[in-house]
Symmetry: C2
Subunit: 417 residues, 2 copies
């Protein structure tokens, strides 16, 4: 089969699979997920053996960080299984009555949550996203095409097969979960034109991957470019709160998108307190680059370039800048934020409310660490990802974001006058 025929077959199988899944009850979808969890544990040795082949083949070609992302081990497979069980235990997102009314002439109108349909999940080297993505989609009653990184193909095939066999064991067509098992990019490009078969694309990975998907796709995209999160320390901040929050926002887990990347300090806070903040960060092994004014306060700080204000380090590094009060902070954020999460630290309620109202990011915070921006914290259950878009879902996306709704109208012969 050539790539065009292959892509077509994948898309057509989604049209069939989403029709079938639409009416599979939640208990049955959860039973599939519990089977997946059990099979992951039972077949761990086989999965790890396939993964070892991927790691072996990638050695020397990938960085150590990427190799670590690619590698599975006992604990990581157990974590996947646990994750799937947690998804199974969550309430069914399908069939919820979101709104209802009875019209004057007796029509009963209700808005009911339904699966989105078919999802195209594109991701990079972590093979566990295969399980995570498939489980979230099945929870929401969606069929899914999974497309992992080519270096993790053997691992992804082994994991996808676990899910497909669990579907079959529950009497559901295994084609509810398909894996693109050819590396060619043109297959992805062809699928992105299949607005007739696919309802949404979710690309997870670097900004370049995501921009390429958006550029090509006629299918709507749920996306997250990057997280350039800011913490602004206002003149009226309480240093007893500032120091722990700033260190937590940057250093608790620097590799994630809700970690702080830029620290903004009010000029009116003064040199002494600013130095205290910088010292606390340095004590937490954070490398700091700053603007001229920061470097006057602490000459040991490196010089920030223009690029730094738009850089997501995902590491123990941050950029720091002196601004003129909350208006200066908002202006900097408007110019450089990725719309993810920004926090203001102040004891002045009016200043805080101004910041919360004017900053247009998916999460805006007062006296809290940006690290709280998370689906679990927000009570959304399993997290599908983070959206920096404003349509459909914004910020942390729960499994509800993989559903749509339809209007169900029950009448008794009514006609429109």
């Amino acid at each position: 089969m050539d790539n065009a025929a292959y892509a077509n077959e994948l898309a057509e199988s989604m049209i069939r699979a989403k029709r079938e899944l639409r009416t599979v009850p939640g208990e049955k979808r959860d039973a599939v997920l519990r089977r997946v969890a059990a099979a992951l544990r039972e077949r761990k040795a086989g999965i790890l053996a396939e993964n070892a082949k991927d790691v072996e083949a990638a050695r020397g070609k990938l960085s150590d960080v990427m190799l670590d992302r690619l590698a599975l081990n006992d604990r990581r497979v157990d974590d996947m299984a646990k994750g799937v069980e947690q998804i199974a235990a969550f309430r069914d997102p399908v069939g919820a009555v979101l709104d209802s009314r009875v019209t004057e002439d007796g029509l009963k109108i209700s808005k009911v949550s339904v699966p989105l349909g078919a999802i195209f999940f594109i991701y990079e080297s972590r093979p566990n996203v295969t399980i995570d993505g498939a489980a979230l989609c099945l929870k929401a009653g969606d069929a899914v095409i999974l497309r992992g990184g080519k270096e993790s193909l053997r691992s992804c095939v082994a994991l996808a097969n676990v899910v497909r066999e669990a579907l079959e064991a529950e009497g559901i067509s295994p084609d509810a979960v398909r894996l693109v098992d050819r590396p060619d990019h043109e297959i992805v490009s062809m699928l992105l034109k299949r607005g007739d078969a696919l309802d949404v694309v979710i690309p997870r990975g670097g900004e370049r991957l995501i921009r390429a998907v958006v550029e090509q796709s006629v299918v709507p995209v749920l996306k997250h470019y990057k997280g350039i999160c800011h913490v602004y320390v206002d003149r009226d901040a309480d240093m007893a709160k500032v120091l722990p929050i700033v260190v937590n926002a940057k250093a608790q887990r620097p590799s994630v998108c809700n970690a702080m990347e830029t620290l903004l300090v009010d000029r009116a806070l003064g040199a002494e307190k600013t130095r205290e903040i910088l010292d606390a960060l340095k004590a937490a092994n954070v490398e700091i680059v700053g603007d001229e004014e920061i470097r006057k306060i602490d000459p040991s700080v490196g010089a920030a370039t223009d690029e730094d204000w738009d850089t997501e380090y995902l590491a123990l590094k941050l950029s720091a800048k002196v601004v003129d009060g909350v208006d200066g902070a908002i202006a900097h954020i408007e110019a450089h934020s990725s719309g993810h999460t920004e926090s203001i630290l102040t004891e002045n309620a009016a200043t805080a409310e101004k910041f919360l109202a004017r900053v247009d990011s998916s999460s805006v915070m007062h006296n809290a660490s940006t690290r709280f921006s998370d689906g679990g914290m927000y009570g959304l259950g399993a997290e599908v990802g983070i959206s920096t878009d404003k349509l459909h879902a914004r910020g942390p996306m729960g499994v509800d974001s993989l559903t749509s709704y339809k209007w169900v109208v029950r009448g008794n012969g009514q006609i429109r006058k």
Copy 2:
């Protein structure tokens, strides 16, 4: 200014305008709308004079139907003013607390509706969409770029100026509402690449226009390709309900997207009842084309081609087909529906529920006319349009669909453990 500079200036003005509008309170936005309504009435003569020039210039170039869409008159301007007042009277869609919780460590988390930001509204010949689109966007706190058909440019300029002056009178920058006053398509193409400035595109018009927008845009699109609505008459239907519903669904207002385009009749209903339905439609001046079996029942019916099953007539014409029960109806709908609205007519509750569950359209109905698929009927207030997408908004879209939300987190020094 060349077109590239012009498009850039439009996009940049949206970035500024949405920042300003974000914090303009609802009362003030409503005051703008009431000023617009008053000015439309006061300045009717001038608006009609500009419109007359458009109509004059288009005469001979546009069909009579298109000329009628282009033309304004006393009543149409009054209707616009009334429409704007209705939008002003509706509740503020911004600032609603959609969800809230307090975490164990005392973080107050709320999900609050906010304006989407900047909207790009593309439409065809009806100049009244200028007012309608601007009013809906302002109601939701959104800035908007309006782009009407080139044949209605003078009318659109006159109408957009009414809105811009109303904004200024309330101390808001008039650039919250911009009109593309050059006809060049490349300006549209350039704007569709400005994902940094624009948050959503809403194209209204023919399917070709909409597909071209989707193909080019990196900005998310809210769209409605077409409405191929089906009515399925089941073997267990009550003819006393069937005849009025079928005639209403097709003939009450044939030019709208929720009118029936295809009638599906259960084979088991029998020739006599089927003939009765066809006769009722013919009595309402409906032209029918049918498959072979329909033509055996009524030889006066024309022959349907393959294309007919995918055609939105928007006229007193429909296609009719005999199917094998509800499964046959669902199979035909799955192959040909545009996902807008489908209705089943039956007294058998189990058959009805099967249809409602399995048909994946934005509205599914039982014993009711497809004409009820409408934002007003569903209690959504002013209607922005209809979405046949599944992301963000599906089916009739109220002004809420022009909002997004953000997460507001209020803490007291919390850090993540």
